[in-house]
Point group: C2
Chain length 263, copies 2
């Protein structure tokens, strides 16, 4: 994300329009699920990685969080956040996810909504997040589902019946991981495809315990508000993972054990 | 699996033919990956859940396992196993996965190859496996990938280019979990579709730590042996999960903690 697409005028206006529309997928699918999996925020220190407009930061602070730091690499997003999402317990900082290790503060919760698929080096990201998380701290993130990030462009997706209704979904190149270009308002929005296996195993290999994995399906309220959303029962949409940083128990190692983790 | 499809003559002969062919997916894709994730078997007590012909049981025993118990619900499979896969450290028992809780023996490793998608109640299965696993014991299993089990029948799958080469894969009903019928040699082979989210979260909710999740992709040896296998880079195939039964630490609970797990 060194050249941040959210700082492109066309992209920003397109994104803004979607986020402000009644039927956007964030509000109907992703955010309600993220709320289900968010731990109790009261008294917690929270980092919002890719905070965008800062709406979640304020929500956490209003929910009782002791301190919320919102970071984003987009100047534009942060300008909006500083105007529209103000709370005494919230601070915004311009920082790319790739430079997270530069923070010298630790948090109880790292929250990240729909950012990870823009990040090239997932293992570095996981290690950086671990470095700003307290022991037993929680990482909650969402990203585009690997079935969606798999196809090289948006040319493959829905198939329709003769009445124009979605009946199935087509994808390719699932087991070919790496860079993808896609067209979302502007050309060359770069995303990175990783399999579910890579995502889960990279977390586990780096000391995280996965306690929930969820692939968003529409809730009744969302289908009622936007009946076309029923099509999202046909495919996975967003991937949500909640993981806990395990504390390494140094004392009391048993025979043949190299590490013991405490959860 | 109360009426076991492997005891149907047509199914059994079809299955036997595939397993004996040079280019079957078990030998090319699933088994090599399962070997990668199998813990050291030396000195271990191992349960093979759905042992089939018993080939893995003998392999574990030859690799140094102290005791291997192979269970299967198919009389026919076990007859073959008892004739063809004999080792002093291996014992076969006819037992349905659904009756696993009736065993009164515990194991270091529970191994299960391509059985779980036949089981209706996944949470009961996970609890039953936990009851026969020692603390810190390992569950290693493979099953059909959720993207493959999703579609109600085998009518949806590959799409081809004008030269007949596979270019993409089509599926549907991912977020509608439950029973599926499919045609594999005979009609009405019943499988159950669960999302990746349900599989992972059910394991975590019932005290398992997932340390590896892998979606099989062809290895170079397999592509060399059977070049058509390249198509399997386009979609996920089998799902493999290795999980560890966490030991609950009863002593030393910290404030606000209800359970602590030791890994």
């Amino acid at each position: 994300m060194s050249k941040n697409c959210y700082d492109d005028e066309t992209f920003f206006q397109g994104y803004k329009k979607i986020r402000e529309s009644q039927n956007n997928y964030n509000d109907l699918l992703e955010q309600p699920a993220m709320r289900d999996y968010m731990p109790d925020v009261r008294g917690k220190k929270i980092l919002d990685l890719g905070c965008g407009y800062g709406r979640n930061c304020v929500e956490f602070a209003e929910g009782g969080a002791l301190r919320v730091v919102g970071i984003d690499s987009s100047k534009r997003m942060l300008e909006t956040a500083k105007k529209e999402s103000v709370h005494p317990n919230v601070e915004y900082m311009r920082l790319e996810a790739e430079r997270l290790h530069e923070m010298n503060e630790t948090f109880d919760i790292v929250y990240s909504s729909l950012v990870f698929h823009y990040i090239e080096d997932f293992e570095k990201l996981v290690l950086d997040i671990s470095s700003v998380l307290k022991g037993n701290g929680v990482l909650l993130f969402s990203q585009e589902h690997p079935i969606i990030t798999a196809s090289p462009d948006k040319g493959l997706d829905w198939n329709y019946d003769d009445k124009g209704r979605e009946i199935s979904y087509t994808f390719t190149n699932y087991n070919r991981q790496g860079r993808r270009g896609s067209h979302w308002f502007i050309d060359d929005v770069i995303t990175y495809h990783r399999t579910m296996g890579t995502i889960v195993t990279t977390l586990a290999d780096n000391g995280f315990h996965i306690d929930a994995l969820y692939e968003t399906a529409p809730k009744p309220f969302a289908v009622q508000k936007y009946p076309k959303l029923r099509k999202e029962f046909l495919k996975p949409n967003f991937l949500i993972i909640r993981a806990r940083k395990m504390r390494i128990l140094k004392e009391g190692l048993m025979k043949n054990e190299t590490r013991r983790f405490l959860l």
